[in-house]
């Protein structure tokens, strides 16, 4: 009798596949790794062989340099690659550019490792594709019923209303450098904001990389060239940590905005001194998590990281056996 845990099981290094001898998103250097997406807590340098989408490999190369691993093997969406007896297929997860779910098949058993994912439209990456499976291994970053992300266009409209209301001030938007920043810029373009958007230096390389992958970000400028008063009425995108840093002093009386799922909770916004919280997340919210599990109806639900207990409780109430893997080493979104 083959059990799912014979195919994948948690280890201190990460989720391990014994029959294929590889780890998925390991948090420590390993000989063989499958990487779901380019965020630093999932994609670390120093592995032996890395299997990932070409976009994720490009992101890792940009962040860590060309020698981030001994060998890098690209695997396009939908392509299947064998690792010993195990078949690995990467399918879109809708999280950021290049993000994938790892579909792992062995002896008639299918396990899907979602990585981080969301279900709503993102102009910078293809949408999540549900795959029927025996075990769905889901994240649960926003696994509490309080996290219900509103429509992102509505959040961008609030930002633009504030820009119109406070033309003498700069609007400084904190956004994670990979994925969130480019999505915000694309959403602003879709909302008709065609002016130059100023960006923090830490975003420039990834912006360029997104551009090379066909994501048109429109006119961008470094946020260093202009005089202080030239930033009045401007929108500036920066990594979250920079918005409350000395770097931010160059702007005239900035309205501090922060684009994150955590901004749903006012205490979080207040704690960070955020004046304009924008509830825009690259993770599935509670409704997306539960709808996804309901849609896939896996034989079992395993939960990797986040608020496992609430999602497990929900699954239990809906007759889906669930267990928390209690994997460590994955950070909360934007929690820097």
């Amino acid at each position: 009798m083959i059990r799912p845990q014979d195919l994948l099981c948690p280890r201190p290094e990460g989720l391990y596949c014994a029959p294929g001898d590889f780890y998925i998103d390991p948090v420590q250097p390993v000989a063989r790794a499958v990487i779901t997406h380019g965020h630093a807590d999932h994609a670390r340098p120093g592995h032996g062989a890395v299997l990932a989408t070409p976009e994720t490999l490009a992101i890792m190369g940009e962040r860590y340099g060309a020698d981030f691993a001994e060998a890098a093997e690209p695997c396009a969406y939908g392509q299947t690659i064998a690792r010993d007896d195990v078949q690995v297929t990467l399918v879109p997860a809708g999280h950021v550019l290049g993000s994938a779910q790892a579909v792992v098949r062995w002896k008639g058993l299918t396990l899907v490792v979602s990585g981080d994912y969301k279900r709503r439209r993102d102009p910078t990456c293809p949408p999540f594709e549900p795959v029927p499976c025996d075990v769905f291994i889901s994240e649960a970053t926003f696994g509490l019923p309080v996290f219900r992300h509103p429509d992102d266009a509505g959040e961008i409209a609030r930002l633009l209303r504030s820009v119109a209301q406070f033309p003498e001030r700069a609007h400084l938007v904190g956004a994670y450098a990979l994925g969130k920043a480019q999505r915000i810029i694309r959403l602003l373009r879709e909302a008709g904001w065609d002016k130059t958007i100023h960006v923090h230096g830490a975003l420039e390389r990834l912006n360029r990389l997104y551009g090379e992958h066909g994501v048109d970000l429109g006119p961008l400028e470094p946020a260093t060239t202009a005089r202080k008063q030239d930033f009045a009425g401007a929108i500036i995108i920066a990594p979250p940590s920079a918005t409350a840093d000395r770097w931010a002093r160059r702007f005239p009386d900035p309205v501090t905005a922060f684009a994150s799922g955590w901004m749903q909770v006012r205490a979080r916004a207040r704690q960070r001194g955020v004046e304009l919280p924008l509830v825009i997340s690259d993770h599935a919210d509670w409704d997306e998590l539960t709808a996804t599990v309901d849609e896939i109806r896996p034989g079992e639900l395993w939960i990797t990281h986040g608020r496992e207990e609430a999602l497990a409780r929900w699954a239990e109430l809906h007759d889906i056996p669930a267990r928390a893997l209690a994997l460590v080493g994955y950070e909360e979104e934007d929690d820097d």
């Binding site: 996290f147 409350a244 840093d245 931010a248 009386d253 006012r266 004046e275 929900w314 109430l317």
Partner: protein, 539 residues
């Protein structure tokens, strides 16, 4: 409801006064009657509901979702209204969001049972921010950091008039204030302020700069009296209506029935609200027991009897006397209180003087009695009319020199808005002896002003360079006898406090000077503060 909810949402996270004014003014400009009037009433505290108790709301949500999931959600968010607003499992069908006026009409008219039925329909129809605003409105108290005064200022800004003009008509108006907006938008005349016992906008004094001003002023032109340490109030008794207002026109009658019952005059006076025991002033801490309360019970009134020390007259038996000279108003005030004495209203005595030096000596060393509890002296030109606002020249306040203490910076916290990239809120301490005999610092206060922008940059750098630990937005800073930063802290008063570990609390502490030169080991001891306190208490 959506615009109102968005307004509350932004206000609750906005620190800057100017930004708040812009938000409220724009809302009032863009929202039609009667919604904006109800919103203004809610912001000024004129409209409060107690339509739904938290327990009811909790029950309603638990009937719709797993109680365990709700409990985890509530534990995470920490605020009931916000949790329910976020988790509310909407039932399809109710798709039209209610307008603010619809909600207000229902809450004003419906029975409690009807309201409870309506609540669920509204929660189903609204988005999370709308649900949050609705729950705040229904459970009483918006608490979004907007004072009644600020809301009136924004209303005045809408029409380009002085806030005093709005304040003067305010108590003759009723929500949803359609007549007020019609006037502010130039569609009608200004509403009549002729309501009995209405609020009259207050005349304020400028701070005196003794180094400059005395050279230009003639002591013979000015009257002097003590600056009492209570709160400025206006008491009116006209045509059977009695009211007590703060200097911002907030009606606090309900909290001071003892004072109003004792009023015997017919007119309106300006004076200081104090706790008065047998005609003697009690320290400000006594008055604090009676402030910010909705009502007062007999026990509280007996323990902390309030009264008014009168210093000006605005209306004398139906006659508006504000255009008379101060000397004339004062005579009429004295005559009125003599004619109609009230046990809880006395007269602020004048303090005669001939030269500025003589007055300075009085201020530095007040005579025994109430004057020792005064905050300083007031100067009023004998010929000044009673003019709303803060005109330059007729009235001056000359505060007593602050008390000073050298304290050591212990913790620094990030500021808000403009200051969000600076560590600008400082907790400082003085030395005391621990149980083991070692010298250690105990926090005695917090200050976030008193320094220039340039000094702020320097302190911020000091904080970053000397951080020991971080706790979210707070950093603890190196504070040892030979390493750390000393502030000369100025404050207006001291009182005993059981809430502070040090046992003392300062009034209006601020950074007077930064003592880059002083080793922290030479900062003051807690005993220095205790000595000041004993001196104050032993007057």
């Amino acid at each position: 409801m959506r615009a109102f909810a968005e307004l509350l949402d932004r206000l609750s996270l906005t620190a800057s006064r100017n930004a708040k004014l812009t938000l409220v003014r724009d809302y009032l400009a863009q929202t039609p009657d009667p919604d904006r009037g109800w919103a203004l009433a809610a912001l000024t505290g004129e409209l409060t509901f107690n339509a739904a108790k938290p327990a009811f709301i909790r029950k309603a949500v638990e009937a719709r979702m797993d109680p365990l999931l709700f409990r985890w959600s509530y534990d995470y968010v920490g605020d009931l209204a916000e949790t329910v607003a976020l988790v509310w499992p909407q039932r399809p069908g109710a798709n039209r969001e209610p307008e603010l006026s619809e909600v207000v009409d229902a809450l004003r008219g419906a029975t409690r049972a009807e309201v409870q039925r309506l609540i669920e329909t509204w929660l189903d129809a609204l988005q999370p921010t709308g649900r949050w605003a609705l729950l705040k409105l229904m459970t009483g108290g918006l608490r979004v950091g907007v004072s009644s005064r600020l809301a009136k200022q924004a209303t005045a800004d809408l029409g380009g008039v002085e806030v005093a003009q709005v304040e003067e008509v305010w108590h003759a108006l009723h929500p949803p204030y359609e007549d007020l907006f019609a006037w502010l938008e130039g569609r009608s005349e200004r509403p009549s302020p002729d309501a009995p016992a209405r609020f009259r906008p207050v005349m304020l004094a400028q701070a005196l700069d003794d180094a400059v001003d005395f050279a230009k002023l003639d002591p013979a032109d000015y009257a002097a009296e003590w600056k009492w340490d209570g709160i400025r109030v206006q008491a009116a008794n006209e045509a059977g209506v009695r009211r007590l207002y703060t200097r911002n026109g907030e009606d606090i009658s309900h909290a001071f029935p003892d004072v109003l019952e004792a009023v015997a005059f017919e007119g309106a006076i300006d004076g200081e609200l104090l706790v008065l025991r047998d005609g003697r002033v009690a320290p400000f801490a006594d008055l604090q027991q009676r402030l910010n309360r909705k009502t007062a019970d007999a026990k509280l009134m007996a323990a902390h009897p309030a009264g008014i020390r009168a210093y000006d007259l605005l209306s004398d038996a139906g006659e508006d006397v504000r255009t008379l000279d101060f000397s004339e108003r004062r005579k009429r005030l004295e005559a009125m209180l003599q004619r109609s004495p009230s046990p809880r209203v006395d007269l602020s005595p004048m303090q005669p003087f001939d030269t500025w030096a003589e007055l300075a000596a009085l201020r530095a060393d007040p005579p025994a009695g109430d004057a020792q509890l005064a905050e300083g002296v007031m100067l009023k030109r004998w010929t000044s009319i009673y003019e709303a606002g803060r005109p330059k020249g007729p009235w001056f306040k000359w505060k007593r020199d602050p008390m000073l203490v050298d304290a050591v910076l212990m913790y620094a916290q990030r500021g808000h808005g403009k200051r969000s990239s600076f560590y600008s809120d400082y907790t400082f301490g003085v030395w005391t002896t621990g149980p083991d005999g070692a010298r250690l610092l105990t926090p005695v206060g917090k200050a976030y002003f008193g320094f220039t922008d340039e000094e702020l940059k320097q302190i911020d750098k000091f904080v970053r360079d000397n951080t020991i630990e971080r706790f979210g937005p707070v950093r603890s800073v190196r504070a040892e006898p030979h390493a750390g930063l000393v502030f000369e802290v100025a404050f207006e008063g001291l009182q005993r406090s059981t809430r502070h570990k040090s046992g003392v609390a300062m009034r209006f502490p601020r950074i007077n000077r930064i003592r880059w030169d002083k080793p922290p080991g030479e900062a003051d001891e807690l005993t220095a503060l205790e000595t000041m306190l004993q001196k104050l208490e032993g007057r």
